[in-house]
Assembly symmetry: none
Homo-oligomer: 346 residues x 2
């Protein structure tokens, strides 16, 4: 949105892990952030509260102060347990709407269907954006080339960094002057990028069609796309989303994301993960059922390990798979990006 | 419904594989069929157009003629790619509602939410039944054993007979006195069996959870379950549904369904199918990512071939895969059932 300036609402929880949407937007977002709204940290900068975010955005006390700083859109930056709208959030969002700011959230509560909020939005002529809403005109993948190079970050499990890896690689590619675009497939990614689709909320027949639509939209924005992966081919509950995305993505190359030491699916400890090289082969076999694509690098999440242990883990994964391996958050995305670009040029 | 008489709408496509809902209801259904509505085949009997259906129902030109024959309910008998309501279908269904007939369909379009169709239904005091309606409390697969032996009919493509194979095997098993249950996962199967779930209409995150719920419901009805497969791991649009079902099914054995001579995905002619033995390996690899299961027999659809050519096709598939192979519609389900039961007992 032209002229858009975000106010990220964290309601006292900016330092907590529940504020992961805020953290993601502050660290990776390409949208301009006017401020954070958090009465517990007023007067400081975001980076002082959460160094990981690396954002100098000021923290203000309420949405009225955010409006004075020129914020045009209030983003709910907290994913509370249960995902329901609380009365405190309702009051803040209502005030934001009455002050003429758009509201954006990814709760389970459908804010647009809330009569009070909807009436306030109408009265101010502003919008309520549900980050989990999906289009109602989805279908199957279209024929014909996408018109961009597509790199898909796939993973051995959920919540191991597929989104972060895509965002780091996108940023590194843009830093090199490439027309690179991160393509979000989950609600936090949508909040960060400002567009995309939560494909896990699409009906199952249309997952591949949703991926296809996303990469075609991405191709209108750039020619090197990083399509966020979801789930894992080894995940007992979510593998269908994973394969639908993989087959709908028209991927030219895959980057396998893995958490060092992860030996079983976290949600299903009885489901053991095979060795990393076998996971690589599995993804390549799966892609080849429709359209061949190779895993061209491994992005290893070594969070929690000291530098020496992290390096050992990276070296072991590289030796096992024969692929360029790195932790792109710890060490920068340069080596993995080099490997991807070299593979795309082959 | 007491006194119910179905008119099955196929709109010129009665002879095509897309009319699989019509074919299934005509061959396997227990509900009375007054007629088929298809202007391309008016004046003939269903069995003359599609011998497989074995139904003497007359084919009439339009829904008005169906009404005159005493039809009380119009069932949309075609499953178009993408599952959307076309303008031609809309006109026919609207006329049916205005003539006082119920409408039953399994599109992704929610007919009951369509203002024009809903108004027509209200005005005539008739109902619109959505065969694809799904529960709103689905989740992920439950832990623990299902409590039944599960055989899953998987396939190389859509609309090649996965449902029919399951229905034939179920019927043959019940004829032998086994506590056998067909578990429907698509709208046609639901129309035939009277229960089940159209898993392709479930939110993608919950496909495996839906499969798990279905086999647990099946286990309350019998101890040998035939879980209908959907799509194909090779289908560019629907492979996610296929894998979600496979991983959610807790399958003990797989039966691979294939159309003799099919060399590419019908909806995507650019997507070539590999040799049959490779499709078998693909399904076994995919199952093994979560829970190993073997393909224990091949059910070959030889429709359209003469007996000699059909036998050659069966022999070739058996030689290539090393598996018991038969056309269970043409030759009866006995040999494939024997192979499945022997495998389950190993």
């Amino acid at each position: 949105m032209t002229g858009e300036r975000l106010a990220v609402l964290t309601g006292g929880q900016l330092a907590e892990s529940y504020a992961k949407t805020a953290h993601g937007v502050l660290r990776y977002g390409t949208r301009e952030v006017a401020c954070v709204v958090d009465p517990a940290h007023t007067g400081r900068r975001a980076v002082d509260v959460v160094p990981f975010c690396a954002s100098p955005a000021p923290v203000v006390a309420d949405v009225a102060a955010a409006r004075e700083l020129g914020a045009t859109t209030v983003l709910l930056g907290v994913a509370p347990l249960g995902g329901r709208l609380t009365e405190a959030w309702r009051a803040s969002l209502l005030e934001a709407l009455r002050l003429g700011m758009h509201v954006e959230a990814g709760l389970h509560t459908d804010l647009g269907a809330d009569p009070e909020l909807a009436a306030a939005a109408r009265a101010s002529g502003v919008g309520i954006r549900d980050l989990r809403a999906v289009p109602d005109d989805l279908g199957v993948p279209l024929p014909g080339p996408v018109g961009a190079r597509v790199v898909h970050t796939v993973g051995s499990d959920c919540a191991i960094g597929k989104m972060s890896v895509g965002l780091e690689l996108d940023r590194a590619a843009r830093d090199r002057g490439l027309a690179s675009v991160f393509v979000a497939t989950g609600q936090t990614g949508v909040a960060i990028a400002g567009w995309g689709m939560a494909v896990d909320h699409v009906i199952s027949d249309f997952v591949a069609g949703a991926a296809d639509r996303l990469v075609r939209e991405g191709a209108a924005r750039g020619d090197l796309l990083w399509l966020e992966g979801q789930g894992s081919i080894h995940h007992p509950a979510y593998s269908g989303v994973t394969l639908g995305l993989l087959h709908g993505s028209s991927a030219d190359a895959l980057v396998l994301c893995h958490r060092a030491g992860r030996a079983a699916i976290a949600d299903y400890p009885g489901t053991a993960l095979p060795p990393l090289a076998e996971i690589v082969r599995g993804y390549e076999q799966a892609a080849g059922w429709v359209r061949p694509a190779r895993v061209v690098a491994v992005a290893l999440n070594t969070a929690g390990l000291d530098d020496a242990a992290a390096q050992r883990a990276v070296d072991e994964a590289a030796a096992e798979t024969g692929l360029v391996t790195d932790d792109v958050v710890r060490s920068g995305a340069g080596r993995v990006l080099d490997a991807v670009l070299a593979a795309l040029d082959r």
